[in-house]
Symmetry: C2
Subunit: 640 residues, 2 copies
């Protein structure tokens, strides 16, 4: 008989051969166990407790002996010997984001869309009149369809998909030859990917897809109206396989790891597609284009291409510009003959999300002024340039601002604490949540607000340590570490307190330091003074809005006049939308991807110095942040 | 509880809702019941016996009352009311052909292949050296692969499939950039459909596929050697859904009928593909092109396109020239990114099998002499022409020469009686079988041999009736009908006698009359005297060889000097092979499809007269067959 593993508190169980690794058994049983480090036993996040039975575990040395004695093990280092009962702790932050509805306005700020473009989408719906059949003209239905298309579109080669051929005979006979075709255009050909009898031109949809390391977002566009009709986002289901791209690349190398990662991200995308289609009450077969943007690793994983050489020198990915592929091949559940169009990558660490994002700015088009683009995601990417040059770099910020890797972190969704003010005297906080719901966790903008306010009020010091000298009802010191309670258990939706620990604060400081130092070093290398930047575009999924003063207070963004900043939210998604609606944008995107050069920070000896110097609030060199210095001196005279 | 249907002798059973039609229950249980008329209750072939239980049957009026009293019903007219046991008679002829191995030489006569062609296949394997990766050249693996292809093939657009992209990173790193790519060429682009590390150019395969109404044949070609390495054929699994194209078109209109027909023919093709791949011990993924030829209806069914308008005026099929499709889309189990290339059709009743077949002749290339091409299949097609004109017509011959619709008929496979001599004095026959195996049935060439010999010896008269005035050990008169025993039960592989009845003889005479009259009428219309034909190409799956004298004796072929005839066997398959190995042939085929015109016999008032006149052996006008008249006068003076 095979050992049975029972998981608590869910009660799910599965019989597996002796020797099976615990995470594999959990996966098979449908139980999620976090494994942010990719199963290397390095992060300690997959800690579970063996309540009953024998296991073979390698956790000693990584867990304290007292914890091991109590039955705690690292799941990734544990094999099953006999039937066991395993207690899996809940991961409230991650789960929280999964079950909430959200409003599309949180993700795209439509008013920011550039104005100077032509509505000229990759895919068009077109009504044509097909000539009636004749026995002696030697033409099949397809030949007559092609001639009808060529009447309006000229003598280009017209190619029909098998799906169209199957519908063709009935479609052209239903309304006396009047049909609506969906056409996709490439340089030489017209591809007929769908045919419907009669006039169906009003039912025309496309999607923009942003595949982030932590978050996936999908936007449904009604091309007949030229309007975004629904946006949804969720965590990338790959998150349980590792929190950052390096952990994912590690995970992909294990057995069926690559295929599992591919299926997981597809599942996330298809779940969102189903949601946006349901929101608009349409058949997903009506969606006939998808523009997909993501970092180089994410797109490799989505397409099932080995990501290994992204990480190994000389850092050459399989594709920078993926060819057009069909939805059927990729596994994206829209019309199976639809084309999937991928945003071009610049290199292994500057991907299509950045070429889509920069498309939303005037960075590449403004001839004189130098602008800056910062995408704050799990990877942080920074682009500086104008019409004459475009330089990009990347840094590993971690997913803190997207709510992952933080105890009570969550995505910017209903129930997320997005703003927190702090009573300077007591240190107590007052929060507000997205949707005014009972709080589930804290999103990126909430963390920034909280940390900046605590810092301005002197409740945390420049190194991120809580003030232990003054009593506060919100601060509790647990051994060597302090924990700040944002919302007590009785106020929250989960019945557990929402807190920020000093470890969380460290994570956030590391994230901001990575982004700031990458920005500062790149500007230094290219010889542009911070003060000369005329526009700074800030993109990212940290929340509905970023409080600019607070972000500068923390030293995440350079201290410049506030009017030079533009928050553009999920720019990767917005850029994808622009490519959906305009072929001219597609050309501009290809052009800027060609022009953009990549600077490798990891080989730059000055990067570590810059990073270390930025591990303080706002920075070791406070002269870089004159407005923060002024605020601090105003509020807390002791620091002046 | 649902009624249970048990089928005997197989013992298979299934539970189905009351009211289910018997053929549907049989299909679901995996029991085959013949339905040659397409379920119209017209052919009486689906007769089964209800051994137990109640049914609701409409068979009375179609079956004699005594048979109905004994429990016999037509399955297609029967619904289930309660649990029943059904006895399904074996269909020895059809089953016989399914389980025998065969030699490829039966199907293609290689020595007949034209000599004036270049080896220039649609798909090529090519070894290239991909440059090593560099971090600063801004090229992904795909870019370097494309550049390496362009070194040899020029600056054409190169497109990689997703399958190739998934293998790419590992393939180019395994042997220092030395890889073998499989390329498919169209007018503008090169498509990379497969990549392997190192030199794998010797492992290159394609297939030619002939999809006939009754028979499907597949030929494996080793493109590295330019050689046919295996050929296999089997009955088209659609045969149980109707014997001719009209019955199949009817069948396609019922519920899921079209999809069932599609799956059935795919099953036949894929079974043969598996056989040829196994014969050569290769992975089917090494097969990267298929050229498929079939009549217009067969290709519509294979692609899941409604065939209805082939049969309805003005007889317009969906496609005459199907576009290139991938094996994945079509469902043909070779390398899924392979291209499937279809032979062009001329019209609804002259299909790709004919444009492939004519390619094997000099009909379209000879400038002065007029030649004739006759394809004897379930549909008979006739083409007459030279370099200046090509005229085609079609007639419904029925599947008699392919062994279907004849009691003991079978395909030309091991165990088929292929030759029969007749003792003039006693009427007794001596047969030989393919592979010298115990006989299973009679193939087309055996039927032609038998009928001609019986006719020459006076044992059947010009109307096809057996001589009842002389006793013969082989002839038994059963009521109004006579039956001729070819092999008694104790000699056969099935333990049942192999016979030819007068009904079978009538079927064969109708088949030959259809073909002869179509030929004669077309020649008359185009003003070509039979005697002026310089070459007559005869194609078809009637057997290993056709005895020319015997075919002329029956009046199947015109009475001309024997040296003008060329038997080219399965010309559709041979033509497909030619398109596989040479793009020049592909161009010639497209050209001849464009040039060929179609003559509709069904609207010609003279066709019925011609057909009726041909319903005798050899013909009512014996002057048309002078050599037969001489033979008859030599052997049986009474007829002289």
């Amino acid at each position: 008989m095979m050992p049975r593993v029972t998981f608590q508190p869910s009660g799910k169980f599965i019989d597996v051969p002796a020797g099976t690794e615990l995470p594999a058994a959990a996966r098979e049983a449908g139980v999620e166990i976090d494994s942010p480090c990719g199963g290397k036993g390095a992060c300690g996040k997959c800690i579970v407790r063996i309540e009953h039975g024998e296991v073979d575990s390698d956790s000693l040395g990584m867990l304290p002996p007292t914890a091991v004695a109590d039955g705690y093990v690292l799941a990734c280092k544990t094999r099953l010997l006999d039937s066991v009962t395993v207690h899996v702790p809940e991961s409230a932050g991650r789960e929280g984001g999964k079950f909430v509805e959200e409003d599309e306005t949180y993700l795209v700020r439509r008013e920011l869309l550039p104005k100077d473009w032509d509505f000229d989408p990759l895919t068009v719906k077109w009504m044509i009149q097909v000539a009636p059949p004749h026995s002696d003209d030697g033409l099949g239905d397809m030949d007559r369809l092609i001639r009808a298309v060529q009447v309006d579109w000229g003598k280009r080669e017209v190619v029909c998909t098998l799906g169209v051929l199957r519908e063709l005979a009935e479609a052209i006979r239903r309304e006396n030859g009047l049909v609506t075709v969906t056409l996709i255009r490439d340089a030489e050909r017209l591809h007929v990917v769908r045919i419907e009898p009669g006039n169906q031109t009003i039912q025309h949809y496309a999607v923009a897809v942003d595949v982030g390391t932590t978050t996936v977002a999908v936007q449904l566009i009604n091309l007949s109206l030229g309007r975004i009709v629904a946006t949804r986002s969720c965590y990338n289901d790959q998150v349980t396989c590792g929190l950052d791209v390096i952990s994912r690349i590690n995970y992909a190398q294990r057995g069926e790891g690559l295929d599992e990662l591919r299926r997981r991200v597809l599942k996330s995308i298809n779940r969102l597609l189903e949601q946006v289609a349901r929101h608009e009450s349409i058949d997903p077969a009506r969606i006939t284009t998808a523009v997909v943007s993501g970092n180089t690793t994410m797109i490799h994983l989505l397409l099932g291409m080995t990501p290994e050489y992204i990480r190994l020198g000389p850092y050459t990915p399989t594709v920078l510009q993926a060819p057009y592929l069909t939805a059927r091949e990729v596994g994206i559940e829209i019309n199976p003959d639809s084309w999937i169009c991928f945003s071009p990558h610049v290199g292994s660490y500057v991907g299509g999300d950045i070429t889509a994002g920069v498309l939303c700015t005037d960075l590449a088009t403004d001839s004189e002024k130098v602008g800056l683009f910062i995408d704050i995601g799990t990877n942080g990417e920074v682009v500086v340039g104008n019409r004459d040059f475009l330089l990009s770099c990347a840094c590993s910020a971690g997913p803190a601002f997207e709510g992952a890797g933080i105890d009570c972190g969550m995505r910017a969704a209903v129930g997320a604490i997005e703003r927190i003010s702090v009573d300077a005297a007591t240190g107590a906080g007052r929060y507000s949540t997205i949707g005014d719901a009972r709080p589930l966790g804290i999103c990126g903008s909430g963390m920034i607000d909280l940390l900046a306010n605590l810092f301005l009020a002197g409740w945390i010091d420049p190194a991120g340590k809580f003030d232990r000298t003054r009593p506060s009802p919100s601060i509790r010191v647990d051994g060597r570490r302090a924990v700040y309670t944002v919302a007590p258990a009785e106020q929250t939706a989960t019945g557990k307190p929402i807190t920020i620990s000093e470890i969380d604060v460290e994570n956030i400081i590391r994230a901001k330091a990575a982004i700031y130092s990458a920005t500062a070093l790149m500007l230094e290398q290219v010889g542009v003074a911070v003060a000369d930047l005329t526009s700074i575009y800030v993109a990212g999924g940290f929340g509905r809005f970023l409080d600019l003063d607070k972000a500068i207070t923390l030293g995440l963004l350079p201290d410049l006049p506030r009017e030079r900043f533009h928050f553009i939210g999920n720019a990767s998604l917005m850029g994808s939308y622009m490519v959906v609606v305009s072929q001219d944008y597609r050309r501009r995107q290809m052009e800027l991807a060609r022009r953009m050069t990549y600077m490798d920070l990891s080989t730059n000896p000055r990067y570590m110095d810059q990073y270390t110097a930025a591990l303080f609030l706002p920075h070791t060199e406070t002269a870089r942040f004159p407005s923060v210095r002024r605020s601090l001196s105003g509020v807390t005279p002791a620091n002046g």
